[in-house]
């Protein structure tokens, strides 16, 4: 079972953090290990997943999309139907409950587009915890609606002016806050990134996606799927889908990264495809960096994929070739966004549209008997302004 005791997935992962945080990570690790086995914790988490977040989410046979693609039988795992509109709540619910157990009265988080910030503010307010969200000033400008949402939910949004003023800098700032206030504060990181135990813990909380999917597809099809497809930014929705299927070696797992304006440009977020191994935000993994080891800015018009790092477990899956990682450009994702809206009446998040776009590409080469599941990680309401602008539509 990976990670090992020190949080390594093969070469990747680990705990590359300032000494001040080492004991907090140990405390978190111990609390998590305890809660994982505690029936009371599981019961409570399941209660909130069901009654508050709206789980289980449907595994929906996308008949119209299937007809349109003229290839495999396509199912959609409807994480877009979760409370707050994406899979993010699976993680924030789990971590907030954990923080409550650890008697931390304050929650902090980083956010890029605002989705994880909203999901964190949501659970913090429900559990009556103080909540501060770090967000780059560039992102605050681009995502004013989500900024307002977080404020409405009672969180304080702290603008981050350092570095490139985007997600990676918001994570730096959240870590700095955590270093300073570690005794009463829990940091809810938003993806399968960061120092151990975060990558494993976030993966476990997101694994509810794959666990439900397995049960649902067996009921509907009487067998396991052939292919799983999900988008990869930091990698939490994809790992949540993939991990429970890891041991079924015949099942192909495909992670779709954002190629932005194209891999030949510098404007992409294809960390696994074009990055190299390094250390960012506490773990060793692939990352986008220059020849001096300085971290580069990522680009994707899907804000949730706009991150120059990736979870260490994905780097491990790439290394052992358990999963395949591919890329899709902004343009291709935009067209998939429209396709799903028009065939199924489901407006996907731009992030999830990357997964759909890749399926569009491979569908003609797949037989009708192939069962393919796309993790529809979020809904696209948040993206309609950006898409309208892209399409030249005045609202």
């Amino acid at each position: 079972m990976l990670p090992d005791k020190r949080g390594h997935f093969g070469l990747f992962g680990g705990k590359f953090v300032p000494e001040t945080l080492m004991s907090a990570l140990k405390e978190l690790e111990e609390a998590y290990r305890f809660c994982k086995k505690d029936p009371q914790f599981k019961k409570e988490l399941n209660y909130y997943r069901r009654e508050y977040a709206g789980r289980p989410t449907p595994l929906y046979f996308a008949e119209e999309l299937t007809k349109d693609l003229k290839g495999p039988k396509v199912y959609l795992k409807r994480e877009d139907l979760c409370h707050t509109g994406a899979h993010k709540i699976n993680n924030t619910l789990g971590q907030a409950l954990l923080a409550k157990r650890m008697r931390k009265e304050r929650i902090i988080a980083e956010t890029g587009a605002g989705q994880h910030g909203v999901a964190t503010a949501t659970v913090a307010t429900m559990f009556g915890m103080q909540c501060d969200i770090y967000m780059g000033t560039e992102d605050i400008k681009r995502q004013s609606l989500n900024v307002f949402r977080m404020k409405l939910l009672g969180a304080r949004v702290i603008p981050v002016h350092s570095g490139s003023c985007t997600l990676k800098d918001a994570i730096n700032e959240a870590i700095r806050d955590w270093v300073t206030n570690v005794r009463n504060t829990h940091y809810i990181i938003g993806s399968v990134v960061g120092p151990h135990p975060y990558p494993a813990m976030v993966r476990d909380f997101q694994s509810v996606i794959g666990i439900e999917t397995k049960r649902q597809i067996l009921k509907k099809e009487g067998r396991l799927p052939d292919i799983l497809v999900a988008c990869v930014g930091g990698g939490s929705n994809s790992l949540g889908m993939f991990y429970p299927f890891f041991k079924y070696r015949d099942i192909k797992m495909i992670g779709v990264e954002a190629a932005g304006l194209g891999l030949h440009t510098h404007k992409h977020a294809a960390t696994l495809a074009k990055g190299s191994v390094g250390i960012l935000h506490g773990s060793l993994s692939y990352l986008l960096q220059d020849e001096d080891g300085q971290v580069l800015e990522a680009h994707s018009f899907a804000p949730g994929l706009d991150y120059p790092g990736v979870g260490p477990e994905h780097s491990y899956y790439k290394k052992i070739r358990r999963a395949e990682y591919v890329t899709v450009t902004d343009e291709e994702a935009l067209s998939a966004f429209q396709l799903l809206s028009q065939t199924e009446g489901i407006i996907p998040a731009l992030e999830s549209a990357h997964a759909i776009a890749y399926v569009q590409k491979i569908a003609p080469n797949l037989g009708k008997d192939t069962i393919l599941i796309i993790n529809l990680s979020g809904r696209g309401d948040k993206d309609v302004d950006a898409v309208a602008e892209r399409l030249g539509v005045q609202l």
């Binding site: 300032p18 945080l21 300085q294």
Partner: protein, 265 residues
């Protein structure tokens, strides 16, 4: 014998702690850093920490972040820093400690970095995001080269960790005075001296204090209790005030001199 050991041996005889200023290499440019290091060496520094800038310095507060950004804008990289060290070694034998985050070093190549550093006369390395648990690979390269790896102890480090860290740390132990990032503080934590005593219980190696130390008064207060005092952000603030004028180097020199006086008092 490593220059760091020589300095601590001499200072122990005199009964005073080492003054360890931190400057980011290439802030505001390499030429200035060269002049600065020589100047502060003359004005009372005993060991000098040279910061290697990184795009994502997560243990640093706003002052050192800004210094890193200024240096990166100048295109500072490890090659450039090694040339600086080479130039400095023609002029001074003051112990030089390189301090920086793990990624640029990892990317440069651990072996290549260690060999170059040792060859050019670097005495020690501090990597704040490389705790002992992850340092095995690096230590295997640095130790045989006689290149010291200095580890950090924090106020949140429990006794069993302190014991482990002081064993692994070479040259001295870097005690982080505050639960937080680098940067000047009006007041040092009230339990600082007690914490230092705890660390000293586990080791005979010199213990230096850093993070938050900025004024001659603080230095005077700390001096009887420690073997070394690191001053970073406060010094960089002096640099910031003089960017673009010709008083920069003497101003920093005067600041270091005032701290040294506080120690000797």
């Amino acid at each position: 014998m490593n220059r760091i050991d020589v300095v601590f041996r001499q200072l122990t005889k005199k009964g005073i702690p080492a003054l360890i200023p931190f400057v980011t290499a290439g802030d505001p440019d390499m030429e200035t850093t060269y002049g600065l290091v020589l100047e502060i060496g003359r004005r009372g520094a005993d060991i000098i920490e040279l910061g290697m800038p990184f795009s994502d310095p997560l243990a640093d507060g706003p002052t050192i972040q800004a210094a890193s950004q200024r240096a990166l804008k100048q295109g500072v990289n490890l090659e450039g820093i090694f040339s600086l060290v080479e130039k400095l070694r023609c002029k001074t034998q003051i112990p030089l400690v390189l301090m920086g985050y793990y990624n640029p070093i990892y990317h440069f190549g651990l072996e290549r970095f260690g060999v170059q550093a040792a060859k050019l006369g670097v005495d020690g390395v501090i990597i704040p995001d490389l705790p002992p648990e992850e340092a095995t690979l690096w230590k295997r390269i640095a130790d045989p080269l006689g290149l010291y790896t200095i580890f950090l102890v924090a106020p949140t480090s429990p006794p069993d960790r302190i014991e482990k860290i002081v064993k692994l740390s070479h040259g001295f132990i870097y005690y982080v005075s505050v639960t937080g990032v680098t940067g000047t503080r009006k007041q040092l934590p009230s339990d600082l001296i007690a914490c230092l005593k705890l660390v000293k219980k586990y080791t005979n190696k010199p213990v230096a204090v850093g993070f938050g130390v900025s004024t001659p008064d603080q230095v005077r207060f700390l001096a009887p209790h420690v073997d070394g005092i690191v001053v970073g952000s406060a010094l960089i603030k002096v640099i910031e005030r003089h960017i673009g004028d010709d008083k920069l180097i003497p101003a920093v020199g005067d600041f270091i001199f005032s701290l040294k006086q506080a120690i000797i008092d």
